[in-house]
């Protein structure tokens, strides 16, 4: 029953609680935004712990080994132990780094993924902030992550870090273009940038069936945007040690991974919003369960790709983006436009 959604009921009762304490409806709204923010941050942290374990388990499965299995049943507490280890490590700052730039980089990198969560449509009436320009906001905010990689690469004062930072910038700036173009196909179909409207319009047919090419382009570009294999040239541990992360340790180092898994979840959630029908599904489960389920399927696809393909070279990376993805995505926009025009001409 969608109306008896437990999360919506919690939200409504919280709203009643605040209305009793706070003056005026605006203050209640602000309080509810804070609740949404806390919920999103909590989701990011728990999700990172789960995803790191899942990644290691999936990797083990694909490479015919067990993965972590010592601590707890199926190694379930391995990541928890790792987090405690990282938290208790010494906060070590190398001597030659540019103090402030180096220290701020992991924090700056963590901001865009958190901000993206504001527009994720977790369920019907379950969008933290249902912005009118939702998808465009996602594109705009996630572009800021580039500068964090540049800060980390530059601030570390290390040649490997600078090379990694430059790779990150070249890669993320280039792959932003096919990412936006693939999203445009869906936006043309719906005529809206609002995430809740995009999901609403998929009640009949999921856009993966209408926009299969855009879906594939989105997958590739999103993998590149999150710097995951086969596009992890930024790290490239066999070539440039760990790229921008080389001079980091302890919790600062962990922040990079937290940000990576936060944005992995975000791009997967956007994929299920745009192409997989968001919260739509048989009604025996609430909408947000469907949304999370589809998102985790997408995350599994990203992991599957990661452990299947070898890393690309820099020139191959650029050639793939500029010579294949961008022309194909432009053609996709053109064909989508013609399709919409023909559909309207037929009186649809």
């Amino acid at each position: 029953m969608p109306n008896d959604d437990i999360l919506l009921r919690i939200g409504a009762s919280l709203r009643e609680l605040f209305a009793g304490v706070l003056p005026g409806p605006d203050a209640v709204d602000v309080a509810m935004y804070f609740v949404a923010l806390i919920a999103c941050v909590a989701l990011i942290f728990t999700n990172a712990v789960i995803l790191i374990l899942a990644e290691r388990k999936v990797a083990g499965f694909m490479q015919s080994r067990l993965g972590p299995h010592r601590l707890g049943p199926y190694g379930m507490f391995q990541t928890v132990a790792d987090v405690i280890k990282l938290l208790t490590k010494e906060d070590y700052r190398p001597q030659g780094v540019d103090k402030w730039v180096w220290a701020m980089a992991p924090v700056v990198l963590f901001v865009p993924p958190v901000m993206v969560y504001a527009v994720l449509p977790f369920g019907k009436n379950l969008v933290p902030v249902d912005l009118n320009i939702g998808i465009f906001y996602f594109v705009a905010v996630s572009s800021v992550a580039t500068i964090a990689f540049l800060m980390a690469g530059w601030g570390s004062n290390n040649k490997y870090s600078v090379i990694g930072g430059m790779r990150a910038v070249a890669q993320m700036v280039s792959y932003e273009i096919p990412l936006v173009f693939s999203i445009l196909g869906v936006v043309m179909l719906t005529g809206s940038l609002q995430t809740s409207v995009i999901v609403e319009k998929q009640s009949g047919i999921w856009f993966i069936l209408l926009q299969p090419v855009a879906f594939v382009i989105y997958l590739i570009a999103a993998a590149a945007e999150t710097n995951r294999m086969p596009f992890d040239l930024v790290e490239g541990e066999s070539e440039i040690i760990a790229g921008p992360f080389t001079e980091y340790s302890g919790m600062r180092w962990a922040m990079f991974f937290l940000a990576e898994y936060a944005s992995l979840f975000a791009v997967s959630a956007i994929a299920s919003t745009l192409f997989l029908g968001g919260w739509h599904g048989p009604s025996f489960l609430p909408g947000w369960v469907w949304f999370l389920g589809k998102t985790y399927v997408m995350i599994f696809v990203f992991m599957w790709v990661r452990w299947t393909f070898p890393r690309l070279r820099v020139d191959q990376l650029m050639a793939l983006c500029w010579k294949y993805l961008i022309p194909v995505s432009l053609a996709n926009i053109l064909i989508t436009g013609i399709g919409i025009f023909a559909y309207r001409a037929m009186g649809g």
């Binding site: 605006d26 540019d98 402030w100 730039v101 912005l131 009118n132 320009i133 465009f136 906001y137 594109v139 705009a140 905010v141 572009s143 800021v144 580039t146 500068i147 540049l150 800060m151 530059w154 004062n157 040649k159 600078v162 430059m166 910038v169 700036v173 932003e176 940038l193």
Partner: protein, 170 residues
């Protein structure tokens, strides 16, 4: 606290961040730091757009001035200077009179035009989504200039690619 008061506080907070980081961008000796403060200043301007309900403009501001321009500036600095960040700022003390004159003249022109023009302070904020109006203007009334700008940018991009490629080896 009324909504206007909250609005005013937010406006002055965001403006303070914009101006202070702009001052830092101008005065800091380390060019990379200056570029990063410039980025903070640019992104904070998006906050003012949000306060004015110009949501699309705010997102564009973050996309262009948060993601692209600072990266371009930082790249420019990194590619033209030695790796030592401290020695990255060239200070020319010989011609500062010229610099003062040119900056002063530019400042005078901007201030004159600011003081001469009348700004409508009331009734500009609309709660309507700004993106529809923008689309109607750009792809309707001003379609031809918009497409001209697109062609200009395309030409600039092709020119940049040709320059970056360099001449053919003879």
């Amino acid at each position: 606290m009324s909504n206007e008061a909250v609005y005013g506080i937010m406006f002055y907070l965001v403006s303070a961040v914009v101006l202070l980081s702009a001052v830092a961008a101008v005065t800091l000796r380390n060019l990379i730091h200056a570029a990063l403060f410039l980025a903070i200043s640019f992104v904070s301007v998006a906050g003012i757009y949000v306060l004015l309900h110009a949501d699309f403009l705010a997102a564009v501001q973050v996309l262009i001035y948060g993601g692209a321009i600072p990266v371009l500036i930082a790249f420019g600095v990194m590619l033209t200077r030695t790796p030592g960040a401290a020695g990255s700022n060239p200070v020319n003390t010989k011609t500062y009179i010229w610099g003062l004159g040119i900056t002063g003249a530019l400042f005078a022109v901007i201030m004159l035009s600011l003081l001469k023009s009348k700004f409508a302070m009331q009734g500009l904020i609309s709660k309507e989504p700004s993106i529809e109006g923008l689309a109607r203007l750009m792809l309707g009334d001003f379609l031809i200039p918009f497409e001209f700008a697109a062609i200009l940018l395309l030409a600039a991009m092709i020119g940049a690619i040709i320059l970056a490629r360099g001449g053919e080896a003879k």
